[in-house]
């Protein structure tokens, strides 16, 4: 009798609690899916560079839009960050602006003559990089890399001048575009 009860107990244990809880698909509120770098010249002509990757770390390739710049031209640059994975679409730019002292963008280009300067600053007078100016010189080809660092050391050597070498922190964004200047 006891043996039967025991067997019954064993079997019921094996078949009860067999299924895992259905996972709740998280609302990935911290994800940045889209970065747009818009360059506007004095005639209000715009050139847009954008990187959009809706599935995050998933296997689908991102959609990249790249543009052509005019030689010897000055542009105003603005960055916009979005999370388009959920609905409604979230504007992450505001969040970066709010925690400006914990964020900094770094710009670098391999195209000879391109100069990018910060046009904004946080409460401590250090650059953020949401607003920039970009000046082109001669025609050429190359890349433009934009990096957003979280919790960089903005006081480290040359970091305020846009040199990423000593910045530290974590990379939130690192995107490279092909650029043509003509």
């Amino acid at each position: 009798m006891i043996r039967h009860l025991f067997t019954l107990l064993l079997i019921s244990l094996l078949f009860s609690a067999c299924d895992p809880d259905d996972p709740i698909v998280p609302n990935e509120e911290e994800v940045i899916t889209t970065m747009t770098y818009t360059l506007t010249d004095s005639n209000n002509n715009t050139v847009v560079f954008s990187f959009k990757d809706l599935d995050g770390d998933g296997g689908n390739s991102p959609v990249v839009t790249q543009g052509t710049l005019k030689a010897n031209t000055s542009y105003e640059g603005t960055v916009e960050l979005l999370n388009e994975a959920g609905s409604p679409v979230e504007n992450i730019t505001e969040e970066v602006q709010k925690e400006a002292d914990a964020h900094q963008f770094f710009y670098s280009s391999t195209v000879p003559g391109i100069a990018i300067k910060y046009e904004d600053e946080d409460n401590n007078g250090k650059p953020i990089g949401l607003y920039t100016s970009l000046v082109t010189k001669d025609a050429g080809n190359g890349t433009l890399t934009i990096v957003l660092r979280h919790q960089p050391n903005k006081s480290a050597t040359n970091v305020a001048n846009g040199d990423i070498t000593n910045a530290g922190g974590e990379t939130d964004i690192e995107v490279t575009f092909d650029v043509t200047v003509q």
């Binding site: 895992p20 919790q151 990379t171």
Partner: protein, 760 residues
């Protein structure tokens, strides 16, 4: 073991004699210079060359006696003396040399598979260490560290999913898949911790290929007085305070024991800088209650809770591969501060574990017993990373595992025909991602249900002992995986595995001082959930890890040859050579491909299978230079080879050698067991790894010099053990291949630990 024979004495004015002999339990040789301390009278005796001691003129009454000798586990007894009394006491050898371990409880049933233990005394004197570090003294055991206080044991090349840890007989249901996931067990609860360097594990449930770690709280006994221990230690590196207390007694036929631990430490330091955010805190407790019914049924209730917060080196937190490359190039990690701090900030881990067990043993007679155990476990793990928004207080990983375990075991030893040990075990584990992270989970929600049956038969003929056994395990894994593609959807996977294990062995023991064993084992391990279904970015290592739902089981074939002996009365040798072939060995391999994301490109790693061969040799030798001086060397050699790719396996320990010189001082007044040890630990570089297998080449070899001084002060009923240990005496700068922080920072510098254990 104590054999008490009462001589028919004549009562003369309440003056009785207590005399006896102290013997080595293993060799049956008398133990000279052992101390026998009679607490009530504050009198001590030392054994002579025949192991004999004697107390005269004792009034009748109850006495506590404590027996100790260096290299042996100390013992305490409670005696009533109403006439002249003679006792024989067998002492068990201490942790290192020549110890055989009782694996199955009550009876002295020794498995043929090689096992070594550390006892409570060792644990008490190393109270600042975690479970894995406590075991590192055993040859063939290493630790994979993740900085700070995080470390997992690696036994003869097996770790994580391949190494089962049993907490009071129950397979630990934690999150063993992560290399940075400490076993959630406080070593203080253990009477001893045993490492079985086996060829197949038959009696224990768990996905293991032979090696097992047993954390054994031991029994309480029936000593009616209140006894206890208070342990305090301070370590300079990390400025940690470590407190443990234990109380036990046997009242109203119920034995009870309470154990509690508190530890708090801050930033550790290398010889030249502080390792920011490497502090940790721990709050653990355990309660054990035992009752015996008519000496037939022994019941135990056990409850333990483990709660830890582990800081993780701030400079090791990275966002993408360029961050990692930046960090690798630095001599001092990012975020290093000039001052020490106890603060623990992000990134950190919060871990909780609860075990409740009911154990029941029924003894039919001296040889036959039936055991029925039930256990429940709850494991919680939250990992807090640096989130993009500092307002975000949510963890990046939050897991809860609930586990039930039931087993029935029957054992019949010492029969003329065959010794039998058999049992059935069932378990059910449910692992859930708590939906509070707002991040896609790395491993899915899953349940594992399993049932296993084993049997071991043994036979002894003269000096030979033979053993053969089997285990069959049926497992079902159900997983609910969130897709990586949009729209996100939940996919359910079910997989069933049958693992079969067999082992056989023979032991030859020509004399009590010499034995040799040869073991063969065949074992299977099903892929773990992370190996099957993980999919996503593993933040700590900056790679995207992809599981393979079609992986099959690993199959291991292992042979080991061990020799333990004492030669010429002075030289102890303990040697074990092993070779293990694992077909379908599962590991995480770089795919060669990178995946482009908005945070840059990440390398892809996939779980794949290969054929692996692991071979090694652990050898310890101890030479008694004189009564007081002894020298010991401990070699541990290991090689792991990927036979398909003809390259080395990653995360295999480097070859290492430890040389120890020890001096045992003569007793001074009330001081006993005064001992000084100096040791040199030499770790060779891990060689021949291909650069594509890792982010950085293995660091060069190093050697560390350590010293320790300890002694017992006896004051009436109280024994005060004090110890001073200096690790890395010369403050050497080094990095260890098995420390995952080596990519970012140097290893820890000099550490001075001062501690005191008061036992009453």
């Amino acid at each position: 073991m104590i054999i008490l024979s009462c001589l028919i004495g004549t009562a003369q004015d309440n003056s009785f004699t207590l005399k006896g002999k102290i013997l080595d339990a293993h060799t049956k040789e008398p133990v000279e210079f052992a101390t026998i301390y009679l607490k009530e009278k504050s009198r001590a005796a030392i054994t002579d060359s025949l192991g004999s001691f004697r107390f005269d003129l004792l009034p009748s009454g109850s006495y506590h006696i404590a027996v100790s000798y260096l290299g042996f586990e100390p013992k305490e007894y409670f005696l009533s003396i109403t006439r002249d009394t003679s006792i024989d006491i067998s002492l068990d050898q201490d942790c290192h040399i020549l110890e055989e371990v009782e694996i199955i409880g009550h009876h002295h049933n020794v498995s043929l598979q090689s096992s070594k233990s550390v006892n409570n005394q060792w644990i008490q004197q190393h109270s600042t260490l975690n479970l894995a570090e406590v075991l590192q003294t055993i040859s063939g055991v290493n630790v994979i560290k993740s900085g700070g206080d995080i470390g997992i044991p690696i036994v003869q090349g097996m770790y994580g999913n391949r190494l089962t840890i049993l907490n009071n007989g129950v397979t630990q249901a934690g999150q063993q898949w992560g290399l940075d996931h400490n076993p959630e067990i406080d070593p203080f609860v253990a009477k001893q911790v045993t490492v079985i360097k086996g060829v197949a594990s038959l009696q224990f449930q768990g996905s293991t290929l032979g090696n097992v770690v047993l954390v054994e709280p031991g029994t309480i006994g029936n000593e009616p007085h209140l006894h206890g221990k208070i342990n305090y230690a301070f370590a300079t590196n990390g400025r940690s305070h470590n407190i443990n207390t234990e109380l036990k007694s046997f009242t109203k036929n119920i034995g009870w024991r309470i154990n509690a631990t508190y530890k708090k430490g801050g930033d550790r330091n290398t010889p030249s800088y502080f390792l920011r955010n490497t502090g940790s805190t721990q709050r653990n407790a355990a309660v054990q209650i035992e009752k015996s019914f008519k000496n037939k049924l022994h019941s135990q209730l056990y409850f333990s809770t483990f709660n830890a917060t582990y800081g993780i080196l701030r400079g090791s937190h990275i966002g993408n591969l360029s961050d990692l490359e930046d960090a690798l190039g630095r001599s001092v990690p990012f975020f290093t501060e000039d001052s020490f701090s106890y603060d623990i900030d992000r990134p950190y881990q919060d871990v909780g574990h609860v075990l409740i067990k009911s154990g029941n043993k029924y003894f039919f007679d001296a040889n036959k017993k039936l055991e029925i155990n039930y256990a429940f476990q709850r494991n919680q793990r939250k990992e807090f990373d640096i989130r993009r928004s500092s307002q975000n207080q949510k963890p990046a990983l939050s897991l809860e595992a609930l586990a039930h375990f039931v087993e029935g075991k029957f054992e019949n030893i010492n029969t003329d025909f065959l010794g039998i040990n058999t049992g059935v075990q069932l378990s059910s584990i449910k692992n859930t991602n708590i939906p509070e992270t707002d991040i896609l989970p790395l491993i899915p929600n899953y349940t594992t249900n399993q049932i296993g049956q084993y049997g071991i038969v043994s036979k002894e003929i003269n000096k030979w002992r033979m053993e053969a056994g089997w285990r069959v395990e049926l497992l079902r894994i159900n997983a609910a995986v969130i897709s990586q593609t949009l729209p996100r959807e939940v996919r359910n996977y079910n997989k069933t595995f049958i693992n079969r294990s067999f082992s056989t062995g023979v032991r030859f023991e020509p004399s009590p001082l010499l034995h040799s064993a040869l073991n063969f084992g065949y074992a299977q391990r099903q892929p773990a959930v992370n190996e099957l279904y993980s999919n996503g970015l593993h933040q700590g290592v900056s790679g995207i890890e992809i599981g393979d739902p079609n992986l099959g089981s690993e199959t291991s074939l292992k042979a080991s040859l061990s020799l333990d002996g004492k030669f010429f009365g002075k030289l102890h040798i303990e040697s074990m050579a092993y070779i293990q072939n694992i077909d379908n060995y599962i590991y995480l391999a770089p795919d060669g491909e990178v995946r482009l994301t908005i945070r840059g490109a990440f390398p892809l790693f996939r779980y794949i299978q290969t054929n692996a061969l692991i071979a090694g040799w652990d050898v310890t030798s101890k030479y008694d230079l004189s009564k007081r001086w002894s020298a010991e060397t401990q070699w541990s050699l290991i090689r792991g080879i990927d036979r398909d790719k003809n390259q080395r396996l990653v995360y295999m320990p480097s070859n290492n050698l430890q040389i120890t010189l020890q001096y045992h001082f003569p007793d001074i007044k009330h001081w006993r067991n005064l001992l000084i040890r100096c040791s040199e630990h030499i770790v060779f570089a891990q060689t021949e790894l291909d650069l594509v297998q890792d982010y950085a080449p293995p660091p060069p070899g190093y050697h560390l010099f350590n010293m320790s001084l300890s002694g017992d002060l006896l004051v009436k009923h109280v024994k005060i053990n004090t110890y001073l240990q200096i690790e890395n005496v010369f403050n050497a700068t080094y990095r260890d291949y098995l420390n995952r922080m080596r990519y970012f920072a140097d290893d820890t510098g000099r550490n001075v630990v001062a501690g005191v254990v008061v036992s009453f």
